[in-house]
């Protein structure tokens, strides 16, 4: 008989984007990417429903790093600000967008399982920024296997560029490490919509074990609001059991 284990999640920024879209999917209706492809539109809708359910129905603890929340707000509000009209046009845009963000804040505030944390609130023993700088400057981090995996992502097999742990991603990974170190009783899964992060995370965890990277960590691709096991059954991410975790081999 399977036994529930204490799995907690830590969000990547892209999950917050999807969660926001889940409140206002109509704004993507005229996007040519979806408008001309009902199949993609349906998949998009399913993904948003999955993320919204994950955020609002989940009974496990969900940690949101302060870094992730502020990166989300910064990108949403201050990247690509529309200055084509007058000042009031921009303020209207801010107000409407904040109206949607406010819905998310209400869920965060009212759900005791969702916790926004900072290195200070969790008493991290070292700076996640310094650790992140070390992580991305380690020449051996991207090994041959990860290199091959990254090379094969996407439709263009002749591509010349890929990305991994770019921007704030390395800091997010070190936040996960710091958080997991403070909660050894929990298994903390990075819940991310970044396929590269999902593919590459196991390498970070195992390779950096020598520097003390917390091993009670893992990564889940947010497209899988539920997780398919090897025998084909699916487990909602919110109710992972010891048995399913062993079967998935994610820890």
């Amino acid at each position: 008989m399977s036994q529930d284990i204490d799995i907690a999640y830590m969000l990547d920024t892209n999950v917050l984007y999807d969660w926001l879209y889940a409140y206002i999917p109509q704004i993507k209706l005229n996007d040519p990417y979806y408008k001309n492809n009902p199949h993609k539109w349906n998949n998009f809708q399913k993904r948003l429903i999955g993320v919204k359910q994950f955020m609002e129905k989940n009974e496990n603890v969900i940690y949101i790093p302060d870094l992730v929340w502020s990166e989300f707000l910064g990108v949403m509000l201050h990247k690509d600000m529309d200055v084509s009209g007058d000042h009031h046009k921009l303020k209207l845009h801010f107000r409407l967008l904040l109206g949607v963000v406010q819905q998310m804040e209400a869920v965060i505030q009212n759900n005791p399982n969702i916790k926004v944390f900072s290195p200070q609130s969790e008493s991290f023993t070292s700076s996640p920024y310094a650790n992140a700088a070390e992580l991305v400057t380690d020449l051996d981090l991207v090994d041959q296997r990860l290199f091959n995996q990254l090379k094969n992502i996407g439709p263009d097999k002749q591509k010349i560029k890929e990305k991994f742990l770019d921007g704030m991603d390395a800091v997010i990974v070190t936040y996960l490490d710091g958080l997991a170190a403070k909660h050894p009783e929990q298994r903390i899964m990075l819940y991310s919509g970044d396929y590269r992060m999902f593919i590459g995370f196991p390498r970070v965890r195992t390779y950096w074990r020598r520097y003390g990277f917390s091993q009670n960590t893992g990564a889940i691709f947010s497209s899988f609001a539920d997780i398919r096991t090897k025998n084909g059954t699916r487990h909602p991410a919110s109710v992972l059991t010891e048995a399913s975790v062993k079967m998935l081999g994610i820890l």
Partner: protein, 335 residues
């Protein structure tokens, strides 16, 4: 030259003398005023143009409208869309229930059309309230500290105090301690409000003494830390004092005349703890959100999985299981 203050003015009696007069005097102030006579138009306008202040009538039954309800319903809708929206109710037909529900929906102001303050008429009071709203810089920065588990009850009524303490204990639990103080003692020597998570002022009728009003105003100015709950008798005869309090932005107002006031008080206590140090957020309904049409940054639009090919998406499950296997292999390797 600064942009004039933009105002949306909603009233279903545009030819009424007070409304015509108000529009004229607002224009004289240099405000940029758009006038609408239905709730539907006001709601539409919220999504189309930025307004610094919204002025809403309550009784909107004089003209046909697709929207049901009244101005308080529109207030709730606007605040649910953005809790910093400044709404002033300007009404001649508000009831006791409207006064309390408007305050609890966090209206910025409530002016009765027949209200007077000495020589000052209601339009003057409205203009002052608009100017106050424009200057108001409600901090959106949340106070992240948790509420001190200490409640202060200001009251002179022993019977009400007993009932209120019972509610505080049953709602907030054993961790919370209580302190009761009389209005007189409090107004003469008010304790430091920062040591309390919640301050409740419980008076059937408010004292009109200047000292009491001044102290009450001082406490309400510190909201949302501590959160302030005002409980009083909801009587027509007490309109001026109730509206005075409503205009000071308490966290909650509880009508002691209501048979279920103890339940309302308990709800107010729970919400006050939850929103300590923060501006309360009301969630918007699906229709309210479905009208939002905005453009988000390109990076965000392609976030997540959209840059993966369809083949990638189709084979994602297979890839996932491979990754799981890799993960397992790495785990074994590292042991």
């Amino acid at each position: 030259m600064s942009t004039p203050l933009s105002i949306l003015f909603m009233d279903d009696e545009p030819s009424n003398d007070i409304i015509a007069n108000a529009r004229e005097r607002l224009a004289e102030q240099g405000f940029d005023v758009d006038f609408v006579s239905t709730m539907s138009s006001a709601i539409e306008a919220y999504y189309e143009k930025f307004y610094d202040v919204f002025i809403l009538d309550i009784d909107m039954s004089h003209l046909p409208d697709d929207q049901e309800g009244d101005g308080v319903k529109v207030l709730k809708r606007f605040v649910s869309l953005h809790n910093q929206t400044k709404v002033i109710l300007f009404s001649g037909a508000g009831t006791v229930q409207h006064w309390f529900s408007a305050a609890n929906a966090h209206c910025f102001g409530y002016i009765a059309k027949d209200q007077q303050d000495g020589e000052l008429d209601s339009i003057h009071l409205l203009i002052e309230k608009i100017k106050q709203a424009a200057k108001s810089t409600t901090s959106v920065r949340a106070n992240t500290s948790t509420a001190p588990t200490h409640a202060l009850l200001i009251t002179d009524d022993k019977s009400l105090a007993t009932q209120a303490i019972s509610q505080i204990q049953s709602t907030l639990g054993e961790n919370w301690t209580n302190e009761i103080i009389s209005t007189d003692a409090w107004s003469k020597n008010p304790p430091d409000s920062s040591q309390y998570g919640i301050i409740t002022c419980l008076q059937a009728k408010f004292s009109t003494r200047a000292r009491v009003k001044q102290q009450l105003q001082a406490i309400l100015a510190n909201s949302p830390a501590p959160q302030t709950i005002i409980a009083c008798d909801g009587l027509d005869t007490e309109r001026n004092s109730i509206l005075y309090i409503a205009n000071q932005h308490p966290f909650r107002m509880v009508d002691l005349q209501h048979p279920q006031w103890q339940q309302s008080f308990a709800d107010a206590l729970s919400a006050a703890v939850n929103w300590y140090g923060k501006q309360e957020i009301f969630t918007a309904d699906a229709d309210t959100l479905s009208r939002i049409h905005i453009t988000l940054p390109e990076d965000v639009q392609s976030a997540g999985h959209d840059d993966l090919s369809e083949t990638d998406m189709e084979s994602l499950y297979t890839d996932y299981e491979s990754a799981v296997k890799e993960n397992q292999d790495n785990k074994d390797e590292s042991l």
